[in-house]
């Protein structure tokens, strides 16, 4: 039986893992991404994600280097997100050893990028990241870290991304991200039932029970950063809990 995936995400700035969402106290230096990646791998992570939050050119080079070093050591799928805005950017990280790229802002403003990426590298490489915010009647897509509205409904954009060749949707609730209150389950319900490609839940998880809820609301995979990063739970503890709740996981 196909198992549900647990994906630890590492926020990387200038080659180092950082995490400083408002809800949690940031650690001064969380150290080497490759080392952390290998710890997560040993704990049973099903995939890994690097979210590059670097703004500088120098930082961009560092992410290529660490993708390369990680892919040399760890034989599970690796996704790179953040700052990917062209087919050439995709090519660079894939060539360095990433298996997938997640595109967000660039895709929302230039949907042809999804099509171009899928045609060149295959749909399985292309994850479309959707940052959604609840407004009075519905969820809408925002870009630039949740600051800029696109006017698109999240569910419409998810369908369009699928039609354009996305292999997967990474669905983040802006309202829940960093709160630790759990994923936005209503958002998951509507998006997961609207598409036939896998949906990764993101934004708000702080306990393994949040993973369980997300899966029960249609997620195929769950992504978390702080929960693992601060050592509140290990990946293996989370998967054990999911298994106890009857969710198929790779133990």
């Amino acid at each position: 039986m196909l198992t549900k995936r647990v994906i630890p995400c590492m926020d990387v700035k200038d080659g180092k893992v950082v995490k400083n969402y408002q809800y949690f106290t940031p650690l001064p230096d969380a150290g080497d991404p490759v080392e952390l990646a290998s710890i997560y791998n040993a704990q049973g992570a099903d995939e890994l994600m690097f979210l590059d939050i670097t703004a500088s050119v120098e930082g961009r080079k560092l992410i290529i280097d660490l993708v390369n070093r990680t892919a040399n050591e760890i034989f599970i799928p690796l996704t790179v997100a953040g700052g990917i805005s062209s087919v050439e950017d995709m090519h660079r990280v894939l060539r360095a050893g990433a298996d997938k790229v997640a595109i967000n802002t660039a895709a929302a403003w230039n949907p042809d990028l999804i099509t171009a990426g899928a045609e060149r590298f295959g749909s399985q490489c292309i994850v479309v990241a959707i940052d959604a915010k609840k407004e009075t009647d519905d969820w809408y897509v925002y870009t630039h870290g949740g600051r800029k509205p696109t006017g698109k409904r999240a569910v419409d954009w998810a369908r369009e991304a699928q039609d354009r060749g996305a292999g997967e949707i990474l669905l983040t609730s802006i309202d829940r991200d960093g709160t630790g209150e759990g994923y936005d389950l209503d958002l998951l319900d509507i998006v997961a039932s609207a598409v036939s490609i896998p949906v990764i839940a993101s934004g708000g998880a702080s306990t393994p029970d949040h993973f369980v809820e997300a899966i029960q609301h249609g997620a195929d995979a769950v992504l978390a950063a702080s929960m693992f990063h601060y050592g509140h739970y290990t990946v293996s503890q989370a998967k054990k809990r999911m298994s106890e709740c009857g969710i198929p996981v790779r133990l």
Binding site: M1, L2, T3, K4, R5, N41, D46, N68, A71, N72, F75, I76, P77, L94, R95, A96, G97, A98, D99, R120, F121, G122, S123, Q124, C125, G167, E168, S196, I197, P198, D220, A221, R250
Partner: protein, 213 residues
């Protein structure tokens, strides 16, 4: 030296990322050679057809570079060939993706995954091992491996070539083998330690340490 570290030609379709396949070959004790020229296939001790890109563009590329014929020649001479994901699908004939026609080394066809809730089939799924094969030596029944694919192999005749299946709202063929020709629908290079073990098994086959069945 050749015996201790066999030369493995990894066919480059010009499409995608061969990084993990290359590193997995090294990790398993082989010497990888990424190539798109037929002469390298003749020189190598074993050949890997990796799983990147689309079936039609991959086949068009193989034909254009005359690699298709060289693969058939080398297989006839008994050289081990390992197809991974799309590479396994290319071992068969009629292929709905494109549509195109594969290398037709093994009997069967390739069809879109139909009637499943989610396509692609993406993630870790388990192996139902049907028969012993050197490629899966030491791999336990129920082991989890990583899949990502939208098409799958359908074997109508010669069911004996199916080594394992995997349940995805119905059984899909996950490992095939006939003599020196081997294939996995999943990505062993993305399947952690158990996947690296399969690469090591392939090296043992290439070195002639185990009889091929």
């Amino acid at each position: 030296m050749k015996d201790s570290s066999p030369l493995i030609a990894i066919v480059d379709y010009g499409a995608g990322n061969l990084h993990s396949v290359t590193r997995a070959v090294e990790k398993a004790g082989g010497t990888p050679l990424i190539t798109d020229v037929p002469e390298d296939l003749a020189k190598a001790d074993g050949i890997i057809l990796p799983g990147v890109g689309s079936a039609k563009s991959a086949m068009d590329f193989l034909v254009e570079k005359h690699i298709d014929q060289e693969i058939l020649n080398q297989v006839d001479r008994g050289k081990p060939l390992f197809g991974i994901c799309l590479g396994m699908q290319l071992l068969f004939g009629e292929n709905e993706e494109g549509p195109t026609k594969g290398l037709s080394i093994l009997p069967g066809r390739v069809a879109l995954l139909r009637g499943r809730t989610k396509v692609p089939h993406m993630g870790w799924n388990s192996l139902n091992i049907i028969r012993q094969n050197p490629l899966l030596e030491g791999v336990e029944e129920g082991s989890y491996v990583y899949f990502v694919h939208s098409y799958h192999v359908v074997v109508d005749q010669e069911p004996d070539i199916v080594v394992s299946t995997t349940d995805y709202e119905g059984a899909i063929v996950s490992t095939v083998a006939r003599g020196n020709v081997l294939g996995t629908q999943f990505h062993p290079e993305k399947s952690g330690d158990i996947g690296i073990h399969m690469y090591e098994n392939f090296m043992r086959i290439v070195r002639g340490e185990v009889p091929i069945t």
